[in-house]
Symmetry: C4
Subunit: 259 residues, 4 copies
């Protein structure tokens, strides 16, 4: 590590050197609608016992540090985990937050793509929620993809293409769309959900679809239980991140206002 | 395409290599007052069967991807189309959105000018609306231009100079004004309009004026009909773009607020 | 002029090459409290028949172009004028607007200082208003300066040091404060004013003080009259600039909201 | 000092050349909850008669200059002071303000770390407040640290680890967290406080803890008295900084609105 560097740009810090992924696919599970991506991403990391290989920090994330139960601290971040599957290498991206501005979103997305492209990534699959405002018993899995080949391939696993309407905001859309500039095709897989609560049923449906598509075995028993546990933590994290939006300056304002 | 690049700046991706425009003029049809520019730009592209030669993406556009009816996705963007007319080459710039900040507007405008200047552009003509708050039967076409020569030339085609007052916000003003730094003169042509609805009558008037000025034949019959059809799409796009302004963070806030 | 350049940063375009100022002083008259700076700056330019030598444009100004009465257009900008006085060269900076963010203010200020330092500037004198919320018959001229030498020198001309309290926001403070990094000392001269109207009486007081300090003759007769005339123009400019704050996006929002 | 430079980035201006710190520790006292950091930082500087060695200015601070009682001006800034203790060198960072955005916070933090790392800093200890919303007679001193070694060491002086919950916003968290990238371990020491007033009792508790940990003698008698005096100044500074948030543009808006 050189002594002088700069955090004016998004920075990826490698924990373990990865040379070349074997038919690598990136699965992203970042916060978004119904927190489906985040729930799926974290469950995959835990169940597959994926190994953390890199950390992404960014000035476009809140200027905030979490206090840990042991009296430690950790910065707001995204993390890359690697699972070396039988058929292919699976990279999983999870994190506390997405970048807070459009300029930040584009910068973080290209940082991710530069890193992944450098280790030979072949495919991107982002996980998100598709908000319907109603609660359906069956949670469909909708998809959009950058190539017909991917649409054909994923349709076989029950992903519905051509029905979802509107737009995808954030990394779930930007990563596969910008991936094309790197000659990496991609899919955004969306769990049908109400949109106003953490939807573990929809998340489970995504995990089932992913396990088939990726040819990996994932124990589903713990998903609901674990999710309930981790939901508390997620909730705390989200609340903390929101508090930070009441910026330093706001804090100072309150102080001087009252005294 | 090199593997590592950056989207921290506005980027123009060339689909077809253009060497040198023949007395090239850039016509811009971007969203703005009465959506007149956008309606005119899209109609020209369709009627002239202009060929897409380049795409412009920018971190100053919303961090958003549209889902297509086929189950594909496409990023928010602007596009350059080329029509090789008998008299001169016509470049048409259309798009979903303009940059969302002043810093973004200047960056996108100079990206456009750098690109156009590089392929020998000679003239800029931006199309916008001039909001009056009233509905007049005759829709005047107002203009401002960076040179007397252009004012003289366009006056012959009925463009009224010296009557419009106030300022022009966005690319319609910045492109010709900054164009002078590249020794490219330019005009902003404004269709008189109420300002609160999509004004196809005013757009038609602009198309008539442009067809005369550019010496091209444009079938006007389909303008009103086509516009009505495309209006729905435009409306959807605009609504999607607006939704994205309710940023990722807002979405996360709602989720954690209710649960 | 090279064909490819960038407006991602503040840019100064020289109209006339200035080699080296003779004991040069920069007087700034930018918009601010009571518009005193702007009134003084414009009057000096007119009365001294100062010659425009450079234009400053910036992505931190609104993305906006004014329509002129002749059917032309001009971008929002600041301008440098030069008056070669008997005793010393006087550079006058006037303009429509100041940068709209802190990052922009610092960037524009250092652009100005880099340019001025390059042509040998020796002193900075910014003009602003000092808002009291009351109307006093006598309008005092308050000052703050970066050196005791300047305070001593200006005190002789009636400028009151050590009485004004609080802080100076914008270029009037930043320029002399950052000037110290260039070894250029400076003063901010503030006309006492109510703060809620254009104060020509206070502006006149500043002009009188400046004419003595700079050893130049300035006809004061036309100040009140001219100011009344130019007040209308200033007002229009300010209103236009404000309208632009209702950004392009806001405009688009309105359109789609109503139709 | 070179004549052309740029303030587009955070800049540290060295007043005195420091070659290499002797087991150097950085104590930061910047504005935050209960202004505890700021009170502690300023008291240490005064009591230890620490020498100012560097000034930090940033475009991410407000574009604002304070008027001094002598008729001078000083820019909004942070300052580094050095105290050469018997056991180790103590660097103290105090200032008017923290950066106003996340991008700014990261940039300022890395500027500080680049500078400190360059002069051989070994440890970071930031001081902040821990808001409880209640007033307790005994003010606990809570801590989080980046290493178990630091937690063990500071626990001996009564700092409580593992009890504080939530997150730390701003430099107090970012500096030790980012410090790890420079191989500098760090602690955030937080004084328990209500959060809505300047808490000199809690600040005193921090000073006691620090004096023991750092092995320096600090006269505590003057803390409460001095703090009351400096509180007025702090309050004025905070009010000024807030006023500046009503930007230049807001000021211009008011003027043109009323006239």
């Amino acid at each position: 590590m050189k002594k002088t560097f700069t955090m004016e740009k998004t920075t990826i810090i490698e924990k373990a050197k990865v040379r070349k992924l074997r038919n690598g696919i990136l699965i992203t599970g970042l916060p978004g609608i119904g927190l489906i991506g985040q729930v799926v991403g974290r469950y995959l990391v835990e169940e597959l016992k994926a190994k953390r290989i890199a950390t992404l920090i960014s000035p476009h994330f809140p200027h905030q540090v979490f206090m840990t139960r042991k009296g430690g601290m950790r910065i707001v971040k995204n993390s890359f985990y690697l699972y070396k599957g039988k058929k292919r290498d699976i990279l999983i991206l999870v994190g506390d937050i997405q970048a807070m501005s459009s300029v930040g979103q584009y910068e973080v997305a290209t940082s991710i793509l530069n890193y992944c492209s450098g280790i030979g990534l072949k495919e991107i699959l982002t996980v998100g929620g598709y908000s319907t405002g109603t609660i359906t018993e069956k949670r469909n899995v909708f998809g959009v993809a950058t190539s017909q080949k991917l649409r054909d391939r994923l349709s076989k696993y029950g992903v519905i293409f051509g029905e979802a309407r509107g737009s995808i905001v954030g990394a779930a859309g930007l990563l596969p769309a910008l991936g094309r500039l790197y000659k990496i095709e991609g899919t955004c897989m969306m769990g049908e959900t109400h949109g106003s609560f953490v939807d573990t049923v929809s998340a489970k449906q995504i995990v089932i679809t992913l396990s088939k598509y990726l040819g990996i075995k994932i124990n589903l028993k713990k998903l609901i239980k674990r999710t309930k546990e981790s939901q508390k933590i997620l909730q705390q994290v989200q609340e903390e991140v929101q508090k930070s939006m009441e910026s330093q300056f706001e804090a100072a304002k309150k102080v001087s206002y009252i005294r």
